[in-house]
Symmetry: C2
Subunit: 496 residues, 2 copies
């Protein structure tokens, strides 16, 4: 299968002139949302997928910016032939509110002062971020998302989408995330913030506009280094660095320069982070992460939090993720199940730790692609099914088949329940044997399907019994639809 | 069983006037070692146990300092009736070289300048620290340790002892430790150091002697907070803090004061750490930890590293420890086994994370006490055993029993191999039945023991067979000793 790039892309901006009322009482106006899109929105406006980025991400999820050496941060799964196939889907990613990559955040100009907000920026929550994404979708004319997908803090946004706008999300894929920040996650965020606010260059957030620029580089770099450790696993660090020395053959006995590759690597990436991220955004976003809790600090059960959503979920956890351990995804899946919501929980086997959702190309593509192409029988069945009453004649059956253009005719009893099925082939058999009563030719042990069965299951059943259509029945055994192999194969050709 | 305190104790100082040549070429003179002792050294000088402390520990392991509110850091296992029973053992703990609690370190006066060393303090290693402990033992007149015990960085010192002075250590208990620092451990140490050296008050280590004192408090506090997270488990943080707020009922929306208890707790302990620890010591000791690697950066296998030690090991890991995960202890145990060294590896079941070795009083006492009281049969068997040759008469046997004062007499064949055993009770039976030949009364299926069997096993065997003595045989089936229930019970009464 071809796996290509989304090509050259650009970040666009959507202005929001009207005032935004924030969850915790603050107000913001005007605002801007930076976003990118890949693929085309179809005529039915039904193929939009929203991607939510993690703490240090941005709107540039896929494809290439002119002149840059690296593609977008989730290029592994977005593009022609990939799980988020831009030949079929319209993929959208926006920078979060409070960020520093185009969307309004603490480094944006405060219209009241004409200077960057700094700590005058209002406190924002994951709910506020999702609300701003909703405004972007309104602008794009999308009132229903085919899917919302994101990992880590992006997964929190996915969950918030399903709670804030339950009717708007058809499929949701939260990855390596949690329905609330755990004390350990809060603790790591707090030491990161502490690193920044302890840096004298932070200066209570007023570090903008100095020349030459002197952001709180040591603090932000250190915060990133701490975070970076938590995104890797012990095992992956063994593999990646071991105890190898950096540019020396013996220990340096020197506090100023690193001895080990792992120190040098973290330091390099910490410094690089300073060039691309704003320290105040780091503070505001990590606070929003800490505050995130769908149980509203225990006043709701998680099951209650998800009440009212009809979204179908694929929850993905990562075996070696110790920052967002699999049990947190399991809690999400169980709370969804408790609401009878259709949910699959799968665990990616990976040594990469939390970062695996950005790295495990094969498993991520396979798992997400399968989920996106999965439909339930109810989604694809023919709903206006013609049936025939028990006791009818073969001739009557043949007449209906001809006028309705069908080859399979469910036979119902006096209560309307499925009693058998008769096919065009049965009719031709009756002709050969000179039989006239339906009873003599109909099949009584009908292979059936239920509305909520996955399409794959129905397809498998048709294959096994070598038949090309199944009646779909409800709990009363009334025929509510029909699934045909023609319908299934059309589906597969669209979604692969 | 009574479990008491070691009582009021004081830290003593031992001066080392002669120059110390350090592993990496530096030299140090004079030096001082701060230490404490609990219990009394016995006449045979055979009951000394050395305790090695962790990164932030000191010589005050047990008992109480006058006027202080807390006992020593490992009071849970040291004292009358505890695993390190000060009624039986002479327990020693000293502050490590490079520390700041009485032993010479970067905050000590440099005799050349009359000012604190600061960064002029030479780089030190775990081997150097152990060498200084050895000098203290020389001073105390101890040439063989009954045991060396320590957790975390203390466990590294335990391992180093067994490599540096293999003949001096009878039993070793490394706990929640590793034979080398992993890249993840190095990474956490490095971000801690980075926090300190990024603090302007650190001033390249020259922060001593200011008035009022201005140590790099923000940096050291932050380093401690980072470390503290790694000493706890995700699970224990859920239990201890959950998402409870600190002194408020709603989120503060304020970057200056903590929202959650976990933040407040870490911050409090970070600040408290500044009052009791020296930032430069933190740098030097964490560097020594990073450098620690018994495999000498892969030039030796771990099995080769342990070659030559005859110490018996109990390696203890902690189920929820993610900083020093159980697999690291398993590696140690396997490398020891590869050398045919007597080693037991057990895992404490605890949710406390790395800190469990300081908290799990019950399991720590039980496991260590069992190990310390464990002897092998070879340690306690009677070595000069009188035997009798097959073919002798009952009368001859009775004569030997009387003159030697024994009740059990192994019977040997012409090759000197064990052929049976005869007891005083057998002799009296012979008298009653008027039998005269040894063959007629001796037991042929002798229950035996081997020199390397644990005493518990021999005791269990005696119990099962309702007998009070077992011949100890070697691989040739020659009798090399005798273990009696009297001997075992004496042992138990001493060691409990």
């Amino acid at each position: 299968m071809k796996r290509e790039s989304a090509g050259l892309v650009e970040t666009k901006c959507h202005p929001i002139p009207e005032e935004i009322a924030l969850e915790h009482g603050g107000r913001l106006a005007p605002a801007t949302v930076a976003y990118e899109t890949y693929g085309k929105l179809n005529r039915e406006l039904s193929n939009a997928i929203l991607i939510c980025h993690a703490l240090s991400g941005d709107a540039h999820a896929a494809g290439w910016h002119k002149g840059e050496e690296k593609p977008g941060w989730w290029d592994i799964i977005i593009g022609p032939g990939k799980a988020l196939d831009t030949d079929n889907f319209f993929v959208i990613c926006s920078n979060v509110l409070g960020g520093c990559k185009g969307t309004t955040g603490p480094s944006s100009l405060n219209p009241k002062t004409g200077k960057p907000y700094g700590l005058d920026f209002p406190f924002i929550t994951v709910k506020d971020m999702v609300d701003v994404q909703k405004r972007l979708l309104d602008h794009l004319g999308i009132d229903k998302l085919f899917a919302v997908i994101g990992g880590s803090f992006g997964g929190m946004q996915v969950l918030q989408w399903c709670v804030s706008y339950p009717k708007m999300v058809r499929l949701a894929v939260p990855i390596a995330t949690s329905a609330y920040s755990s004390p350990q996650q809060i603790a790591f965020n707090e030491v990161g913030r502490r690193a920044i606010t302890s840096d004298p260059d932070w200066d209570n957030g007023n570090y903008y506009g100095r020349f030459p620029p002197t952001p709180p580089a040591r603090g932000l770099s250190l915060a990133r280094m701490i975070g970076h450790i938590t995104y890797l696993s012990d095992e992956s660090m063994h593999q990646k660095f071991g105890r190898r020395l950096q540019g020396k053959t013996e220990f340096g006995f020197d506090l100023a320069s690193p001895d080990f590759q792992v120190e040098s690597y973290l330091s390099y990436h910490g410094d690089a982070f300073v060039k691309r991220f704003d320290a105040n955004s780091y503070l505001y976003i990590t606070k929003a992460i800490d505050y995130f809790d769908l149980t509203k600090n225990g006043t709701l059960s998680l099951a209650e939090a998800f009440k009212g959503t009809s979204t179908k979920f694929l929850v993905i956890s990562i075996s070696s993720d110790w920052l967002y351990p699999p049990y947190q995804c399991k809690e999400i899946a169980e709370a969804l199940s408790a609401n009878d919501i259709d949910v699959r929980h799968c665990t990616i086997r990976s040594n990469y730790g939390h970062d695996a959702f950005l790295l495990e190309s094969g498993q991520m593509n396979y798992t997400i692609q399968n989920f996106l192409s999965r439909r339930s029988v109810g989604d694809v069945m023919i709903k206006d099914v013609v049936t025939i009453r028990q006791g009818s004649s073969v001739e009557e059956a043949a007449m209906i088949m001809m006028t309705e253009g069908v080859t399979h005719l469910p036979v119902t009893d006096a209560d309307g329940k499925l009693a058998g099925i008769v096919t065009a082939w049965d009719v031709s058999k009756a002709v050969a044997l000179k039989l006239t009563l339906l009873e003599e030719i109909m099949t009584r042990n009908v292979v059936i399907s239920a509305q909520e069965d996955p399409v794959e299951q129905a397809a498998k059943r048709m294959n096994e019994h070598n038949i090309s259509a199944l009646p779909v029945v409800d709990a009363n055994h009334w025929v509510i639809g029909m699934i045909t192999s023609d319908g299934v194969s059309r589906l597969v050709s669209v979604c692969r």
